[in-house]
């Protein structure tokens, strides 16, 4: 497990944080030694919220503004952080500039939605022979059995989208899906005419009636099914279920996050972090702006801006920001060139990702693109590097390997090293 580029190596060596530096350096020197030591990094964040910008947002129109460039239409505004400017359509977020680390030098080779979505969720390009676990899956797996990990509600929740499952780590580590943040999760209440007592009678009848089958087949899949079922029933009966109920929030809060599905999702995410959920993904869909890029991007930013900024403010107020890593990222950027439909096409060569909270050094732009936004000009960051940074902050050794079902060792990230300059 070695850093992929001299740049990240240089970045690593510039670190100042003592123990972190030691850990990172040990990976540099000899990966085998690092693995043998197997000491997971001290977690800086205990929860992670991913704001998933589905479709791939235009970097130039959001977090990497190019005022004056031939293909730019939006102006840039200053943020609270000196030298950090973002799109004029993100004024509320600009107030939190000191909390944002804007990586402007993201780069990948995956320009297809499905493949890039997989890459961004798992740190790997799709490979038909192995189903890589998503970041959420790793975190659930790796924190199981640790203090505070046991909960009646799922540790990994995806709001408004299917996310990516835990791959070979198994179903028990996969996401629990909330299809609509405006109502409780689907099917958590018994059917009409079924009260708690009747529900309990039904479960008892089922268990009694299937006993013969269980005894005869002796198949471990049946134990697995029972475990998942018990998890589902615990969720139904959990007092923490109320964390999914955004209607309990004051009107002012709902208004602050914006009256959108995404705004409600971010509000739910905050409630879930408070309830102890480890990984929450909230989807804002619609960034695939091949046509009519500017109007659509503007509308999307009008949803992103209040939701993202209120989330940061709320987490800060509740003293949760330092322990919650927030990432805002999509599958790739969009072309600097504007196409015939006034749209922008897929662009994996250079794009932006934003990190905040849990151990992130805010108030900075990391890396840069060229004047027209068409290529990375400074400190390229790969998706595995981004992953390694996030997992390190969450207390996972990015080089840790697990043996996949076909016997191949799979690391949490391959060829990824954390970027020290992003970490406080």
């Amino acid at each position: 497990m070695t850093p992929s580029s001299p740049l990240s190596r240089r970045a690593l060596l510039s670190t100042t944080a003592g123990s972190l530096a030691a850990l990172l350096a040990s990976r540099l020197v000899d990966p085998r030694v690092a693995r043998a030591a197997a000491s997971a990094p001290e977690p800086r964040a205990r929860a992670c919220i991913v704001l998933w910008m589905n479709g791939g947002p235009s970097h130039i129109d959001t977090f990497d503004p190019k005022p004056g460039a031939a293909t730019a239409r939006f102006a840039a505004i200053k943020t609270r952080a000196p030298g950090l400017a973002i799109s004029e359509h993100l004024p509320l977020l600009a107030e939190h500039g000191d909390r944002l680390a804007v990586i402007r030098s993201m780069t990948s080779k995956e320009g297809n939605h499905d493949r890039a979505r997989y890459l961004l969720h798992t740190g790997y390009s799709p490979n038909p022979t192995v189903k890589h676990p998503s970041l959420g899956g790793w975190i659930v797996e790796e924190t199981r059995g640790k203090a505070g990990a046991e909960s009646d509600i799922p540790s990994f929740v995806s709001i408004g989208g299917p996310s990516v499952g835990a791959g070979f780590l198994g179903l028990q580590n996969g996401p629990f899906i909330v299809s609509d943040p405006n109502r409780p999760p689907d099917n958590v209440a018994p059917a009409r005419d079924v009260d708690d007592a009747r529900f309990a009678r039904r479960l008892a009848a089922r268990d009694a009636l299937e006993q013969r089958f269980r005894d005869a087949t002796r198949d471990p899949q049946l134990d697995g099914r029972r475990a998942i079922d018990e998890q589902a029933v615990r969720l139904m009966r959990s007092s923490k279920l109320v964390a999914f109920d955004v209607s309990q929030e004051p009107e002012a809060a709902k208004k602050a996050y914006g009256d959108s599905k995404f705004g409600r999702g971010c509000l739910m995410a905050r409630r879930l972090v408070e309830a102890g959920v480890k990984v929450i993904e909230v989807v804002l869909d619609g960034w695939d702006t091949h046509q009519d890029n500017f109007e659509r991007t503007k509308k999307l930013m009008a949803q992103l801006d209040p939701a993202f900024s209120s989330l940061l403010a709320d987490l800060k107020d509740r003293k949760l920001l330092d322990s919650t890593l927030v990432a805002c990222v999509g599958e790739f950027g969009r072309t600097p060139k504007i196409n015939a439909q006034d749209g922008r096409d897929h662009f994996p060569a250079a794009w932006s990702a934003v990190l905040a909270g849990g151990g992130i050094r805010g108030g900075q732009a990391y890396g840069a693109t060229s004047a027209d936004g068409s290529q990375v000009a400074d400190k390229p960051v790969t998706v595995p590097n981004l992953f390694a940074t996030a997992t390190t902050l969450l207390g996972l050794d990015p080089g840790k390997t697990v043996t996949s079902p076909i016997g191949r060792p799979i690391a949490i990230t391959e060829d990824g090293a954390p970027i020290a300059a992003l970490i406080t």
Partner: protein
């Protein structure tokens, strides 16, 4: 995000993707230099009349039994008749048997009734329904939501092929070489009947549903090539996309050459501008290189010589896809028959000769390679007859073992590897939906609404279903309904199962309760409909204790509880 529809795309994601733009730009650049669509005379391997099949199930039994003896394995006992019928009905028609079918089968005294039952299942219309679902899942998978893909039209093509007993080599040949229109346009979910049309109403141009598979890849030819090699040849050459394969002989250049076989097929727009639903396009082959659009890097495969996996060169071929398909299905192709035999065996027995089912590289250990080779030869000799293959497997001893794992499984795993007992598997999403419909009369109720309405109803059900069942990438078998928390909640508390288990007058339970006969006969009927077997005396007593233990006013509710309990039991949810 709309994760519920399978054709109509997510808002904002439905627009032309870059790859599509690429394909369309290719098309624009090429004008109309297409190869005329000929009526496609069959290449020689297909035209040959089938020879007489060589194998019967006894030949399989001899080899498997010898392996059991050698490994000192005591196989599980023979599955009883009821279990066999349920298993075969699920595996061959994708749903559980009806109460009438179970009763008739159990009452039939003839010795060869299992063979007769298998023949009847293979001859039933549900056979085509089931294998349409199976291949839809393998080929389009769950991520085919682009606005170029008309799943209804694709399924119609598959269904026609299975209903007509199309030879497997012909099926694959047609898929690989398909040209023509993808769709009649519009939203397939709204009007599924229109999407099964043969021609486009606008100008009578023929619709060829098979092209939707090509379109799924949106111009991403490496993925298309990788899937072709993996699904039909069991060769995971895509590992060589980025680097030479580590354990096999495949080089990156081999992969590029294989990909180049698809590089002269283009997608031509029928309608311009914004569309709602599926965009109508036409897939055509050309004989000249497609010109890449400006500002795009020219991919390496664009200039690679088109070659098969064994190096056969198609550079001189006027139609590369056709040349590739002919090479793939030729009887001397060492991979083609092996892959489908293994896949089919795994579909039936839960585990293939090699696993994963689509990875036949030499370094992947193969169980009973001689038997696999015999089945391959037999399959080719039978004229690539899928029903023959299914029948031979279904009547083998290995397939008919009870699903009873040994009390002490062997540490070396040889018992499982040699199919000493039947591997239980969860029903797939389609199987579960169809089985629920069969057990609860839901299907009949839908059918009474008329075809278009019934199709719409099924679509709505499927959509309800899809959100909870739609988490992962496309996988090959049995992994859709894999039992997540969301799915467990759906089964316990969702509308479908609860309605299905209600005692409303037109429902299955309502009908059972209204039937003459004592309560024990009602329990029997319930078991036959759901678990496809008679209840034991102990089970009947247990159910009656629940029902009779309830206050008279709550009896109906108690019956519902029992029906619910059976539908949510593992014995119902698994194929065993």
């Amino acid at each position: 995000m709309d994760g519920t529809s399978n054709v109509v795309t997510m808002p904002g994601m439905s627009k032309t993707h870059l790859a599509l733009v690429t394909a369309l730009a290719f098309a624009a650049a090429c004008g109309s230099r297409t190869v005329a669509r000929s009526p496609a005379p069959l290449p020689s391997p297909i035209a040959r009349p089938p020879a007489a099949p060589l194998l019967d199930s006894a030949a399989i039994d001899r080899e498997v039994r010898a392996a059991w003896t050698k490994a000192r394995i005591t196989p599980a006992k023979d599955a009883d008749d009821a279990t066999f019928l349920r298993r075969a009905t699920l595996d061959l028609t994708g749903r559980i048997p009806t109460e009438a079918a179970v009763t008739a089968f159990l009452a039939d005294p003839s010795k060869d009734k299992r063979g007769k039952a298998v023949d009847a299942l293979l001859a039933s219309p549900a056979y085509a329904d089931h294998f349409t679902n199976v291949w839809d899942r393998i080929l389009l998978g769950r991520d085919a939501r682009q606005n170029l893909v008309d799943r209804v039209a694709f399924r119609k093509w598959l269904h026609d092929a299975f209903a007509k007993d199309t030879r497997y080599d012909r099926l694959v040949f047609d898929l690989i070489t398909a040209t023509g229109r993808n769709s009649v346009g519009g939203r397939p979910g709204r009007d599924p009947a229109a999407h099964r049309a043969e021609v486009d109403d606008d100008d009578d141009a023929p619709i060829h549903g098979a092209v939707n598979w090509f379109l799924k890849y949106q111009g991403n030819l490496p993925d298309l090539a990788g899937a072709t090699s993996r699904v039909f040849l069991g060769v995971q050459i895509q590992c060589a996309e980025c680097h030479d394969h580590k354990t096999e002989a495949w080089k990156t250049a081999d992969f590029q050459s294989f990909t180049a076989c698809f590089a002269r097929t283009r997608v031509e727009r029928i309608e311009k501008g914004k569309v709602t639903g599926v965009r109508r396009v036409e897939v055509k082959d050309t004989s000249r290189p497609l010109r890449p659009p400006k500002r795009m890097d020219v991919p390496d495969w664009a200039s690679a010589p088109p070659r098969a996996l064994d190096g056969t060169d198609f550079s001189q071929s006027p139609n590369r896809r056709r040349a590739l398909a002919e090479w793939m299905i030729a009887p001397k192709n060492p991979w083609f028959a092996r892959e489908i035999v293994n896949r089919t065996w795994a579909q039936m027995l839960g585990r293939g000769f090699f696993e994963p089912v689509d990875d036949l590289r030499a370094s992947n250990p193969t169980t009973l390679p001689d038997l696999l080779a015999r089945l391959e030869r037999d399959f080719v000799a039978s004229g690539y007859d899928l029903k023959h293959l299914l029948r031979v497997i279904a009547l083998s001893e290995a397939y008919q073992r009870a699903a009873e794992a040994p009390a002490a499984p062997r540490e070396d795993g040889l018992d499982e590897e040699l199919w000493s007992h039947f591997q239980i598997t969860r029903m797939g999403a389609d199987e579960l939906l169809d089985s629920l419909a069969s057990a609860t009369r839901l299907g009949e109720r839908l059918d009474r609404l008329g075809e278009a309405e019934a199709e719409r109803g099924r679509f709505a059900l499927r959509r309800q279903f899809a959100f909870a069942f739609d988490v992962d990438e496309d996988g090959d078998h049995h992994d859709e309904f894999d039992g997540t928390v969301s799915q467990a909640l759906w089964l316990m508390n969702g509308q479908l199962v609860n309605r299905a288990s209600s005692a409303l007058p037109a429902s299955a339970l309502g009908e059972i309760l209204a039937s003459p006969g004592d309560d024990a006969s009602k329990v029997r009927s319930m078991y036959l409909r759901t678990l496809s077997r008679e209840p034991s005396a102990g089970e009947t007593a247990r159910v009656l204790a629940v029902v009779h233990g309830a206050r008279p006013g709550d009896r109906r509710a108690a019956w519902e509880d029992v029906f619910w309990a059976i539908l949510d039991s593992s014995e119902f949810l698994f194929n065993h």
